[in-house]
């Protein structure tokens, strides 16, 4: 095997690669720590020791069992998985669009989902009413995929150029936001409150089968994306250089976009438009590990998961029982940390 070869003269790639693996392992450890903190410490009025006892010996009182295993556990796992998915999606979008401001939402996925959810809350969506509680997620997913389809058609006509995709995305964002504003204008007070809450996103109330669905899609997308990690790294050199290395940049952009859109739309459909993680997660990972996507992709997942779960902890601790949208807290947690990293980052003086 590999990457262990060191050379006695100056830079040693083997050590350099091992340091990156250690960083990822440290990140996973931190993610595991915040996972358990969120699991045991963020429910107000219930002692962490009682929850821990239920965790070690499941089947205590039925109330504790329901709180830990049916409410808190799926919520925290959803935080980890959605955070990881948003982080991964953000890293891919920033690479594909060669744009540091890109996120999974740049191409109108969240705007489409937001409008779809609003539409179902305000006027219903005909046949979707048979889906019961899944009506809103289904509406969100359908419109997120419609937005994806719109981008796909325009991008295909223009050879999947990054600039065209971003511009088409901006157009769709404006369109769906206008339609969503219309829905808010028409909505009843109850529906309006639901729309606003959904727009900021929430992990609460997510169920095991939904977590399983998100997890399965995330794992499949991660495996398929990760197989192309070298090609994605080459794309960081720009399309022309990547093509000169034999990479089919158009094909990469097409299939990566479809995978990211499917993964993000599914997450957004169940937890709403939780913002910022798709931008800040990959940036934090990049500042720590650089652009080699073999390390950047898993680290973006880890960073996204940590930020979302930290936000959930903050949400549970500060609001003390009152339910606030978690999207507000992802920014409150993420922005100061992001600023700290930006200021710490070495820059080339010109």
């Amino acid at each position: 095997m590999s990457e262990k070869k060191d050379d006695g003269n100056g830079f040693q790639y083997g050590h350099y690669a091992h340091r990156k693996y250690l960083m990822i392992a440290a990140g996973i450890l931190i993610a595991a720590t915040v996972f358990f903190i969120d699991l045991f410490f963020s429910i107000p009025y219930i002692s962490p020791s009682v929850l821990f006892e239920e965790f070690i010996h499941p089947g205590g009182t039925s109330v504790m069992h329901v709180i830990l295993w049916d409410l808190q556990m799926p919520t925290v796992i959803a935080g980890i998985v959605c955070g990881a998915a948003f982080g991964l999606a953000g890293a891919i979008m920033q690479t594909l669009l060669n744009n540091p401001l890109a996120s999974p939402y740049t191409l109108g996925i969240s705007a489409g989902a937001g409008f779809g959810a609003s539409l179902t809350m305000v006027v219903g969506l005909g046949g979707l009413s048979i889906l019961g509680t899944y009506m809103v997620p289904a509406g969100a997913f359908i419109f997120a995929m419609l937005a994806t389809g719109g981008i796909f058609v325009v991008a295909k006509a223009k050879g999947f150029s990054a600039d065209v995709m971003v511009l088409a995305g901006i157009g769709l964002v404006f369109l769906f936001q206008a339609l969503q504003s219309l829905m808010q204008y028409l909505a009843s007070p109850d529906a309006l409150s639901g729309i606003v809450f959904w727009t900021f996103g929430s992990l609460n109330g997510i169920e095991w089968n939904e977590v399983a669905m998100i997890f399965a899609l995330f794992v499949i997308a991660f495996i398929l994306i990760y197989r192309k990690c070298w090609a994605l790294t080459a794309m960081r050199l720009g399309d022309r250089r990547a093509e000169a290395l034999g990479i089919d940049t158009q094909g990469m952009r097409k299939w990566m976009f479809v995978l990211v859109a499917l993964m993000t739309s599914t997450c957004v459909a169940f937890v709403g438009c939780i913002g910022f993680i798709g931008i800040v997660g990959p940036h934090v990972a990049r500042m720590i590990l650089g652009e080699d996507q073999r390390y950047l992709l898993p680290m973006s997942c880890v960073c996204g998961a940590i930020i979302l779960v930290l936000a959930d902890i903050l949400c549970g601790t500060i609001t003390s029982g009152r339910e606030y949208p978690i999207g507000i807290f992802t920014s409150i947690v993420g922005v100061p940390f992001f600023f700290y990293l930006l200021m710490k980052k070495k820059t080339v003086k010109t």
Binding site: G10, A231, R240, E291
Partner: protein, 254 residues
């Protein structure tokens, strides 16, 4: 590997950039494409590397290849070296072997990268971010990327554009040595005519969408060619070793 270009034509929209170009590049030789600005030199290289769809044939040892198969044995270096990305020099050079890299980078691959960094004397930059280097240093990094997989065909677009005089001569003499030692086929474009004259085995002069002339430097470098293609007055002189050099006297009077 013999590269045979046969009746190659390329249009960009309605504009005809290259028309019926044919020439051959042989192993162990440097074939240099020269010509004035906008003659289509870069376009020609991109067509040879199958990066642009074109009419006509480009064959490698008598066979045509799909792009994904072509890059198994062909390396292409872009003209533009501007890049600011969080990858260090070692990682950028490593990407030159992208077709054969597994998830873990093998000891042999690491050794190949070190070897080519030593060959180009840029090992001291191995851990530096590419954006921290000068244009000339970046150019050497991308040449290292092109050489690292020991390709049978090397295509370099203006490899000396950011280098000072010493490094221009040094690099092309190095490429000449590598080409002969490895027996690879090297195709490049150059603006520096004296370097092209001194180190090329075969020169292809492109002008006005066509090949103006092709052959050894002594055959094709004439005052007439410089007048017709570059629109300059020139004279030839011999140095103390008897080697011929041309001297450009100035632009043709209009």
């Amino acid at each position: 590997m013999i590269v045979t270009v046969d009746n190659l034509s390329f249009c960009y929209g309605d504009a005809r950039i290259l028309e019926d170009l044919s020439f051959t590049a042989r192993p162990g030789e440097i074939t240099t494409i020269i010509g004035p600005n906008g003659a289509g030199k870069t376009t020609l290289l991109k067509c040879v590397a199958n990066l642009f769809k074109h009419d006509g044939e480009v064959k490698f040892d008598g066979k045509e290849f799909e792009r994904k198969d072509l890059f198994e044995f062909l390396s292409y270096m872009e003209q533009n070296t501007d890049l600011d990305v969080d990858l260090n020099v070692f990682e950028i050079v490593l990407l030159g072997m992208i077709q054969s890299l597994g998830f873990y980078v093998s000891d042999e691959d690491i050794e190949e990268v070190y070897k080519v960094l030593d060959l180009l004397e840029i090992r001291q930059f191995a851990d530096r971010k590419i954006g921290e280097l000068s244009g000339g240093q970046r150019q050497l990094v991308f040449i290292a990327q092109a050489l690292v997989k020991n390709p049978s065909v090397i295509i370099l677009d203006e490899p000396t554009s950011a280098l000072d005089l010493f490094h221009q001569y040094n690099l092309i003499s190095f490429m000449s040595r590598i080409t002969k030692e490895r027996g690879c086929t090297t195709l490049m474009t150059l603006h520096h005519l004296d370097v092209a004259y001194k180190y090329s085995d075969n020169l292809v002069i492109v002008n006005d969408h066509h090949i103006y002339s092709e052959g050894s430097p002594k055959e094709v470098f004439t005052q007439k060619m410089l007048r017709d293609v570059y629109r300059v007055r020139s004279t030839m002189m011999k140095d103390e070793d008897g080697d011929e050099h041309f001297i450009v006297l100035g632009p043709l009077e209009t």
